[in-house]
């Protein structure tokens, strides 16, 4: 859909990381309110109305946009809380609201026509028909693509739709289709759709056992580590399980997404914006990752080759394993 310069959309979990991301070169930052209306409802994160207003002023003064995620599904009989979050975002001058729930999209479309609507990845809209439905019904201007599509499929999709697309390029990786995963509530009672949390920290335990440490979520063993082995967070879909006589990381290895090498491909596929995951990350991390991706995107825009991009993004792995996820067909 686009032939312009790709937009770099960066995480802002706190006012401090918002400023850091803007100063590191983010074209847009995304953030949420300090409640269950957004999908990163973690203690110590997110914004009050005043902080958002201040953040929007700062971002706009520096030529960046602010996108506000109100992307959980409104609780029955409490829809007003989600509507009020949208009203506050609009009053603060947010450039766009990122939403997934029909109730929220409908409210914004009817009451805040000046605010762009972006369809959250939590809405899992992956076909021209689904995206067309949201465009016709609510006037969405952009869809954040579900992490199930290959680059070829994204290119075909962009030819068939009339709204912009935004694709994740770096950070945490959901293996399941986001917005359609209840694994967390099955184990813990809390889920991304209901509460804006996945595998919540208060349900995590690290139990020292003879010759190993077990990482458990709500009592379910998600992984086990030898003495001296680095201990990971027990995210459900990155656990080690037994099935069919095999013990393996059945759903996904403990990897994170790095599609840095695919920026040029995503541009050629017609993607408008590249998204970095990580609203739970601190200022230092955000600064470093945004700075590197800023350089990489600029290099791609100037026709830089793959070797140059790789060199710019080397060192963005934190020593952990990475994958290009569904962008590469073999991932499936």
């Amino acid at each position: 859909m686009t032939s312009g310069r790709m937009e770099l959309v960066c995480p802002a979990g706190t006012p401090a990381t918002l400023r850091a991301a803007v100063q590191a070169g983010a074209d847009a930052v995304y953030c949420g309110f300090r409640d269950e209306t957004n999908a990163r409802n973690f203690p110590g994160l997110n914004f009050s109305g005043e902080e958002l207003a201040e953040g929007v002023r700062f971002a706009h003064d520096h030529g960046s946009k602010v996108l506000v995620a109100i992307n959980t599904f409104a609780r029955v009989n409490d829809v007003d809380l989600w509507k009020k979050a949208a009203d506050t975002a609009a009053e603060c001058g947010a450039n766009a609201i990122i939403a997934a729930d029909i109730a929220v999209l409908d409210h914004v479309a009817k009451n805040h026509k000046q605010v762009r609507l972006h369809l959250s990845v939590q809405a899992a809209a992956a076909t021209p028909e689904a995206i067309g439905f949201y465009a016709t019904s609510f006037g969405i201007r952009r869809v954040v693509l579900p992490r199930v599509l290959s680059i070829q499929e994204i290119a075909a999709l962009n030819r068939a739709i009339e709204v912009e697309t935004e694709a994740f390029v770096f950070g945490g990786l959901c293996v399941m289709i986001e917005g359609r995963c209840y694994l967390s509530s099955y184990a813990t009672g809390k889920s991304p759709n209901l509460n804006g949390v996945c595998s919540p920290p208060e349900m995590v335990s690290y139990d020292d056992e003879p010759n190993s440490t077990a990482a458990r979520l709500s009592g379910f063993t998600i992984d086990r580590y030898e003495p001296g082995e680095p201990v990971g967070y027990p995210t459900l879909c990155k656990g080690k399980f037994k099935a069919g006589g095999k013990t393996s990381y059945l759903f996904e290895d403990p990897v994170s997404l790095n599609a840095g090498g695919m920026i040029a491909g995503l541009k050629a596929a017609g993607v408008t914006a590249l998204k970095i995951e990580g609203r739970q990350r601190g200022k230092g991390y955000v600064t470093e990752v945004v700075r590197a991706f800023r350089k990489a995107v600029d290099a791609v825009e100037q026709g830089g080759d793959a070797i140059e991009i790789d060199r710019i993004l080397a060192g963005q792995s934190e020593g952990s394993r990475q994958t290009a996820g569904a962008y590469s067909k073999k991932w499936r």
Binding site: F73, A74, V76, N77, D78, V79, A100, D101, I102, A103, D106, H107, A123, A124, A125, A126, T127, E129, A130, F133, P146, R147, V148, L149, E153, V175, M176, I177, G179, R180, C181, Y182, L183, S185, Y186, A187, G189, S191, N193, L194, A214, G219, F220, T221, I222, D223, R224, G239, F241, K242, A243, G244, S248, L250, F251, E252, A326, K330, W331, R332
Partner: protein, 299 residues
């Protein structure tokens, strides 16, 4: 006559055409079920195997007086999958929508929203009802109280709650049956057909936990929510959904019919279910607003 109607949801697993024909023949002849969902909802790659069986199954069920609902794919991707949804949406029978992809082709005609469609509140429900939703079966993680609150706010539609079967918990772009067999989805060899109730996934400490079924993840435990009829009717919930497994589904249906009619009490119904050859232990946590794997203390 009955205040509470019984639905048999779509088969989630890769059953052979013969197994499907046998299964629905028995449902048609023996199961006290009002409405039966047919069709593949999990994986479009399986559709060529079962496509030829559906006309006979539908004919048989309708001849037996069942209302047939055509269920559609939950995560369509290919052109062929999208076309199949659009085609099914033109049918005069009721259609179950499991992905927003189907909405434009079905708007204005009656449809059921299945548990894969995110309907979490009365405002979303109302929006869909205005476009033709007549029955709403919300996501399984919602409690009976939440479903009841939606039903109370939207009396113009029928609300349905998932009471029996392994719980559909997640979908992925990745096929886990292929992955565990060292294959990719695009050349999967249909290994999912070996596991007609899904393949059990246990923790490293042998705790029963999940089940994989191709791109789908379900609970290992079996939802067996057995409410007293008044718990449903007082909240305006008028339909319950049973999800097919290889166990004796006629007996499951008879048990829920007796429960809904007040001929069996919840405790007795649960006991009867526990005597069947179920693929996992009984749970009902979600219905009570608790983690899905939990079971209410013996009623």
């Amino acid at each position: 006559m009955s205040a509470i109607a019984l639905t048999l949801g779509p088969v989630f697993f890769h059953w052979s055409p013969d197994r499907l024909l046998d299964f629905y023949r028995r449902i048609a002849d023996e199961a006290p079920i009002d409405r039966v969902h047919v069709g593949e909802v999990i994986c479009g790659k399986r559709m060529p195997f079962s496509d030829s069986a559906w006309p006979e199954i539908i004919e048989r069920l309708e001849r037996a007086g069942k209302e047939v609902v055509l269920s559609t794919l939950a995560a369509p991707a290919t052109v062929r999958e999208r076309r199949s949804i659009a085609d099914l949406c033109t049918d005069e029978r009721l259609v179950e929508i499991n992905d927003v992809t189907a909405l434009p082709s079905r708007s204005g005609k009656p449809f059921v929203t299945g548990p894969f469609l995110n309907v979490y509140n009365e405002a979303s429900a109302r929006f869909l009802i205005q476009r033709g939703a007549t029955t709403i079966c919300p996501p399984v993680e919602l409690s009976l109280a939440a479903v009841g609150a939606m039903a109370g706010a939207c009396p113009e539609a029928e609300f349905e709650i998932f009471v029996f079967g392994r719980l559909p918990l997640a979908l992925s772009g990745r096929c886990y049956h292929a992955r565990i067999h060292g294959l990719h989805k695009d050349s999967c060899q249909f290994t999912c057909e070996r596991d007609p109730d899904g393949l059990a996934v246990d923790t490293l400490d042998d705790q029963q936990f999940l089940t994989i079924n191709g791109v789908q993840t379900l609970s290992n435990q079996v939802q067996a929510f057995c409410p007293a009829p008044a718990d449903l009717t007082s909240r305006g919930v008028r339909r319950i959904r049973l999800s097919p497994h290889t166990c004796d589904m006629v007996e499951v249906a008879k048990t829920y019919r007796a429960l809904a009619d007040g001929r069996e009490d919840p405790k007795a119904a649960r006991f009867i279910l526990s005597c069947l050859d179920l693929p996992g232990t009984l749970v009902d946590g979600y219905a009570h607003g608790k983690p899905g794997w939990q079971a209410a203390p013996s009623i």
